[in-house]
C-alpha cells in the first residue's frame, strides 16, 4: 500500500495479535466474524460499516485503484489454500 501511495487513505491501523485475544484487532475480528488478516473496515455516517477481507476488492471499490489480474489471482490463492482441492 505504501508503494502504491494508498496508505494515506488509511485512518487507523490496529494490530490483531493472535497471542492476545483482547488485542484491538482480535476484538474487531470477533465483532465482525473475520477469520483472516489483514482486513479493512470502511465506516461512513450514512451506511453500516463495510468489511473487506479481499484486498483487491478493497482497492478497486474503495480506493479506485488498479491491480493486475495476476496480482488478484495470487491474492485469492494466498488467502484460500483450500482452493488447491477444487
Amino acid at each position: 500500500m505504501h508503494q502504491a501511495d494508498q496508505f494515506k487513505f488509511i485512518d487507523r491501523v490496529v494490530l490483531a495479535d493472535e497471542t492476545d485475544p483482547k488485542s484491538e484487532g482480535m476484538l474487531l475480528a470477533g465483532k465482525y466474524n473475520i477469520d483472516r488478516a489483514p482486513f479493512f473496515i470502511v465506516e461512513s455516517e450514512s451506511a453500516p460499516a463495510k468489511i473487506y477481507t479481499v484486498y483487491y476488492r478493497f482497492v478497486k471499490e474503495i480506493l479506485n485503484g488498479q491491480m493486475t489480474e495476476d496480482q488478484e489471482l495470487r491474492e485469492i490463492q494466498d488467502n484460500h489454500p483450500d482452493l488447491d482441492f477444487i
Binding site: 465483532k31 466474524n33 453500516p48
Partner: protein, 244 residues
Amino acid sequence: MSDSASAINLIDIDSMLSSKTPQEILRYALENHDNIAISFSGAEDVALVDMAHRIRSDIQVFSLDTGRLHAETYRFIEKVRKHYGIAIDLVMPEASKVEALVKSKGLFSFYEDDHKECCGIRKIAPLRKQLLTVDAWITGQRRDQSPGTRAAVPVIQDDKAFARPEDQLTKFNPLANWTSQQVWDYIRSNNVPYNELHDKGFVSIGCEPCTRPTGPGQHEREGRWWWEEATKKECGLHAVNIES
C-alpha cells in the same frame, strides 16, 4: 443487510447445518438456490454429484479443464456425464494466457517457481469467470484434506473472493465434516463410478504433472505439489483466539 449481519446469519446457518448429513446440506442448498452449480474435480467428489442427482436430476455441474489433467480423469468425466445423463460444463483457461506463460517459462515452470502462477491461469481465473454466472456453488472440500489445524472449511460460507461486485455468492461444502473414509464408504455402498486413478494409488487427484500416488500413512496432501512445503500457505487468524 449489513456485512456483519449477513456474516452472523451465515454463521447461524452453518451452525444449524453442521450437524446435518451431506445429503441434507445439499438439499438445503438446492432448495434455497436455483442458480447453483457443483464444482466437480473428477475425483472422489463424484459422491456429491451422485447425492445431488438424487435430489435434482438437472443439477448444474462444471469441471475445470486445466489442459493438464490425466487421460484417466478425462475418461472419468465422460463416464460421469453418461452415467447420470447430465451436462458437465468443461471450463477452460484463456488460451492467450496459457500461451504467454508457456512461451516465457516453459511447460513445467511450477517445479521451479511454485504452482500458483500456473494454477492461477489454468484454474483460478476460469473458476472466477464461471462463478460470476451463478448465485451459489458446491464443492467437495473437506476439513481432513489439509494437514494444517487452521484450515477451517465451514459447511456454508459467504464467498467474498468470487462474488460479483456488490453481490453475494454462497459456497457450500457439504462434505466438510466427512472423512475420506466416509466418502469412500458412500461411493462403495452406492456403486458410484470412480476415477480409475484411485485404483493406482492416487488419493488426491489434480493435474498430471502435480499429482502422484501416495503410500500407506502418507497424507493425501503429500500427493500434490510435493516439492513445496505443505504448510507454507497456511494463513489466517486462529478462530480459537477470537473473542466474539
